[in-house]
Amino acid sequence: MKNFKPNIDWQDKVIDIEDLFKSFGSNHVLRGISLEVHKGENVVVLGRSGTGKSVLIKIMVGLLSPDSGEVNVLGQEVPTLSVPELRELRLRVGFCFQNGALYDSMTVGENLAFPLKRNTPGISRAKVKEMVANVLDAVGLSQTIDQMPSELSGGQRKRIGIARTLILRPDIMLYDEPTAGLDPITCTEINNLINEVQQRFNTTSIIITHDLTCAKAVGDTIVVMKEGKFIKRGPFEEVFESKDELIREFYDYNFIQ
């Protein structure tokens, strides 16, 4: 559970999705999804693997296009944006990939400096160095600055991935399976980091996961996805009072009684 009260503005919708459909050939992944996310809120999207959770957040940043429906992010209708408009929006929406997606050919420091230098023309070397050091400090990995991604552990890669996203100071963070494949201690560290990001930068986040412990630790609101639809929405305790079979199965697997 969180040890702070999140600063959520329930009047300010930063993400508003209406009746979203997406198919890959005959595979209907999203079947009429609607979702509202408010400023400062951490929303956890919970569901089994392959239910289209990642597709949902990829649509939000324009990596995939929807078949139909409205996707409004920070007041802009994503599917209708031109390429330059989409790039402007992406500066305000951070995306943390499941495996970090760090650039193999660059050191950790270069990985962090790369998006900063590219998106801030004229920024001084000293400023870049300072911001890289600050963000590495925020994720607790200052010592890895000269290491290559291949030298990092899975948890470190994810934290550097989060740091690379944070360096652009986004308004929204999208986390794709942040705790998948990690040991319980590292999972707790990642959960704490997600909460710290929310508290320190007042970011709005969507966390895609199938890890109930993560959902409980970081989520202000939980939405449960089943067969391309949201079947339940609410705070953790409320959602998990449900008698739905899928939700019970999640409970049983995660030993939460």
Binding site: L63, L64, R87, G94, A101, L102, Y103, D104, R118, T165
Partner: protein, 264 residues
């Protein structure tokens, strides 16, 4: 944006033929995008220079050895036939024509298709399957301009330079053999060698090299860019890059030689 949802579920003619025409369409779209992005400033100068270093400088040792041996062996193999007619004095001229018109561009581009094409295909494919290209995209960086345009420009610029270098090294290999056997001086060798080389020969070779360089770059990038299926996709991208590049190089050679011969 993706196009995956637009795939037809049932083949129009047959699955294989449909895919073949879809591939042709995709590569033309890819080339069109390359020119659009390449002509739109700014150019990624640092990355372009880094790629030139990888394509050009890192290939020098292999190209030097291959070029030298090609010139030397070709001279050795040609001597017996010319000796039968007492025409060994034609050797420098024969070697120069062969090297400039065909051997230098073909040998260089085939080596680069294997070394550079596979490396580009594998690198981009690996970036694709590990979501590094998507990571660039969501960081508001244009990955096509940064990764594809720089690599294709680097191969298009560096391979013609490597071809000229290979030609020179091959001629040195040939000179060594001729000097050891016929005791011809350096000046006489090169005077005889380039006596019959025309501007058309040189111009055609440079044009060919540019075409081969572009082909190697664009095929490698295209295969890497559309890779899927994890590590299997990386291997496939590297392999297909080499095979398709080599096939297209031979095809272009035939066409360009036919056109060049029409002007002789």
């Amino acid at each position: 944006m993706d196009s995956s949802s637009g795939q037809p579920e049932k083949p129009v003619v047959s699955r294989g033929l449909d895919n073949f025409f879809l591939d042709i369409y995709s590569i033309f779209q890819f080339i069109k995008r390359f020119f659009r992005e390449a002509l739109r400033p700014p150019l990624e100068v640092k990355e372009f220079i880094r790629q030139c270093y990888m394509v050009g400088y890192k290939s020098l040792a292999l190209i030097t050895m291959t070029g030298f041996i090609t010139g030397l062996v070709f001279t050795k193999q040609s001597r017996p036939s010319l000796s039968e007619f007492g025409a060994t004095s034609w050797l420098p001229s024969l070697i120069a024509i062969a090297v400039v018109r065909a051997l230098a561009p073909l040998v260089t581009s085939l080596i680069c298709a294997g070394k550079v094409g596979s490396s580009i295909g594998a690198e981009l494919a690996s970036m694709k399957v590990t979501e590094q290209i998507d990571a660039m995209e969501v960081s508001a960086i244009n990955p096509f301009k940064y990764l594809v345009v720089t690599r294709v420009l680097a191969t298009t610029v560096c391979i013609p330079i490597l071809v000229c270098y290979t030609g020179l090294v091959a001629m040195l290999g040939s000179y060594l053999d001729i000097h050891l056997n016929e005791h011809t001086s350096f000046v006489t060798f090169f005077q005889n060698a380039f006596k019959n080389i025309t501007f058309l020969d040189f111009g055609t070779t440079v044009f060919k090299a540019i075409a081969y360089g572009f082909t190697i770059g664009i095929v490698g990038c295209f295969q890497g860019w559309r890779a899927s299926q994890g590590t299997q996709g990386v291997g496939k991208a590297a392999n297909v890059s080499v095979v398709v590049s080599m096939f297209l190089i031979f095809l272009e050679e035939v066409v360009i030689v036919q056109v060049a011969n029409a002007f002789r």
